[in-house]
Symmetry: C2
Subunit: 360 residues, 2 copies
């Protein structure tokens, strides 16, 4: 059928990276700049890496429109480490933290926070199988330690359109939609994102926090788990994951060159086209509430399990990989992170149409 010479990787994470980033990353593995050595062997306290670190921090602030009130950290351990570190650092004894339960990751973050203090779940869409976003109360003014949100729910395919304005520190897990569109990052006191979706390979986690948050840390923590110590040591409290950070920097440069507005326009078009095809195609449907649909992860179903399995195989044969839904929910999931091009999506839609024809 449709000729495809390449594999399109629609994985939800680790996800596809821009081809030029992959190329530059491979070159750096052979030799980094004029160092005469692989990026894998450069010193984490030497000039080569400190320049990478500094440029990445500046680019993050620039792309997020943030000033020097914010600190940029690269940590290890992924989202789950942040689920633990955030309450460890900011949910002190006697305090309460607010959480919005918009899906499996949010609910996991809640379970982590409960290990450290009082948690109040302000709203949840669990009863709707997370196929819509829970309401966020329109005014939140209180002494709560913070309000924690997940901005995009990879498993269910829902996404917050705008961050709320609240009078408590806003903490947002942006793992799967950071840098995918214009976002008012300055509403956040802290936001975090694992690299392996819109930024780089697995192994680095970006944390951006407003400096005034640091004075709220009261617990005595192991330095590596303490945001204050990590800030003091400029992300090299110990050996940083040099390569994942470098690849993230390469992607940040690519994002800057393309421009967030262009990226947003492309992402909007990609998602609109795909949702339209899911709706048109007689073999598929999307259960996700219209207004809450994610631009990043298009989650949908076949009209039955047999169709889903057959389509996963058909797509695979035609070069489209990793479109199986998350093991918690089944179905199909096509992730449209920044590195997936409009052409990739058009090709995938052609595959869906070809599949439909083949079944009639």
């Amino acid at each position: 059928m449709i000729a495809s010479n390449k594999i399109i990787n629609f994985n939800a994470g680790p996800a596809a990276l821009p081809q030029e980033v992959v190329q530059q990353a491979a070159e750096a593995v052979l030799q980094y700049a004029d160092s005469g050595t692989s990026i894998l062997s450069i010193h984490h306290r030497g000039k080569y890496f400190l320049d990478i670190l500094e440029e990445s921090k500046q680019l993050v602030k620039e792309l997020c429109g943030l000033n020097d009130d914010y600190e940029v950290l690269w940590l290890q351990g992924g989202g789950r480490m942040q689920f633990a570190m955030i309450p460890m650092n900011f949910l002190n004894e006697g305090q309460t933290a607010y959480y919005i339960d918009s899906g499996s990751w949010a609910s996991d973050a809640i379970a982590h926070a409960q290990l450290y203090g009082n948690v109040q779940v302000l709203s949840s869409s669990k009863d709707h199988n997370y196929q819509q976003l829970p309401e966020i109360p329109s005014t939140i003014t209180s002494n709560a330690a913070y309000l924690h949100l997940t901005s995009n729910n990879t498993i269910y395919g829902t996404q917050l359109q705008e961050l709320p304005t609240v009078d408590v520190p806003l903490v947002v897990d942006m793992s799967s939609d950071i840098f995918s569109k214009r976002i008012d990052y300055s509403k956040c006191s802290l936001f975090y994102a694992v690299a392996q979706k819109n930024m780089g390979p697995a192994g680095a986690t970006l944390v951006v926090l407003r400096k005034d948050m640091l004075s709220r840390i009261k617990r005595q923590l192991a330095p590596i788990l303490d945001f204050k110590k990590q800030v003091e040591k400029n992300s090299v409290l110990n050996t940083a994951p040099v390569f994942p950070i470098y690849v993230s920097l390469l992607t940040l440069r690519w994002i800057k060159e393309k421009g967030i507005e262009q990226i947003e326009a492309d992402n909007r078009q990609k998602a609109d086209l795909l949702y339209a095809e899911v709706q048109r195609n007689t073999l598929f449907n999307c259960q996700v509430e219209d207004k809450d649909r994610s631009m990043m992860n298009v989650c949908f179903n076949g009209i039955d399990k047999t169709i889903e399995e057959a389509f996963i195989n058909f797509a695979q044969e035609n070069g489209c990989t990793n479109i199986k839904g998350h093991r918690y929910v089944g179905g199909l999931r096509v992730s449209l992170y920044n590195a997936i091009s409009l052409e990739d999506v058009k090709y995938f839609i052609a595959v869906m149409q070809e599949f439909e024809l083949s079944r009639h």
Copy 2:
């Protein structure tokens, strides 16, 4: 002077990797096996990565001569995360853990453990500026939670020749000498090593523990900090650092092909040659107690600071990089991990001799 076409990276970590490993790693960044996608974008729960994980675990056990009583984990966070996780998991309330203070890393591990419980430092060589190893009491039988050792002290250039036999669980930080020689790993209840010295790039930490240790975990911990949960989830409790683990696997294959005995013989010869030259050369001397000298990190001094600085520059001009001593102690440090060849060491010795000539 001596013609050198290549840079020899004597860094203590992130350290040089075998050239064939670097080459294979770069190829995998472009495309992993027949996946049609970069290793940076393969799914951490897909067959490609699960095969990598399984092979790496089997190879670790094989190279360490361990049976199925042991579990192999790949974690994130480096040595300092282990400094915290070990007491968090194994030093329960009312218990005491023993530590041997053989240097800065050991002493940092002690400070971490003190956050979680009682610590007894059995011996320390701090008063000797850590230039010799502290005595390990010959019989240790007690109810202590564990005894923690650092087998090789990168900053001071000392190394334990043999692991002790003790009647408490033995926990060893082997970050800088794992796989460098034959070691009776079965004496350990747990050992750990960051990848970036003898194994791979920064971003993965190997932890090997005897299964019976898991029943000792009493605290309720965040899953990512809990060895029991990590074992249950086979190191993919969350997205594993795919690339650092893959590069470590490549190095493990290289180690297996070469054979630990050959590696040990080479490492012995490399270290003997270099220590002999340090002793012979009129511009340098080594303060480290003879019997405790490390095969991995040769730490020495110039006869004065001027000589040290001049030599660092001279070595750099001749392609030998990262020989500056650790910022805590100054002086010179030449790390001779597995990837440094006998020829590299002979070349470095020639550079030392040329430098000596140039100063007379």
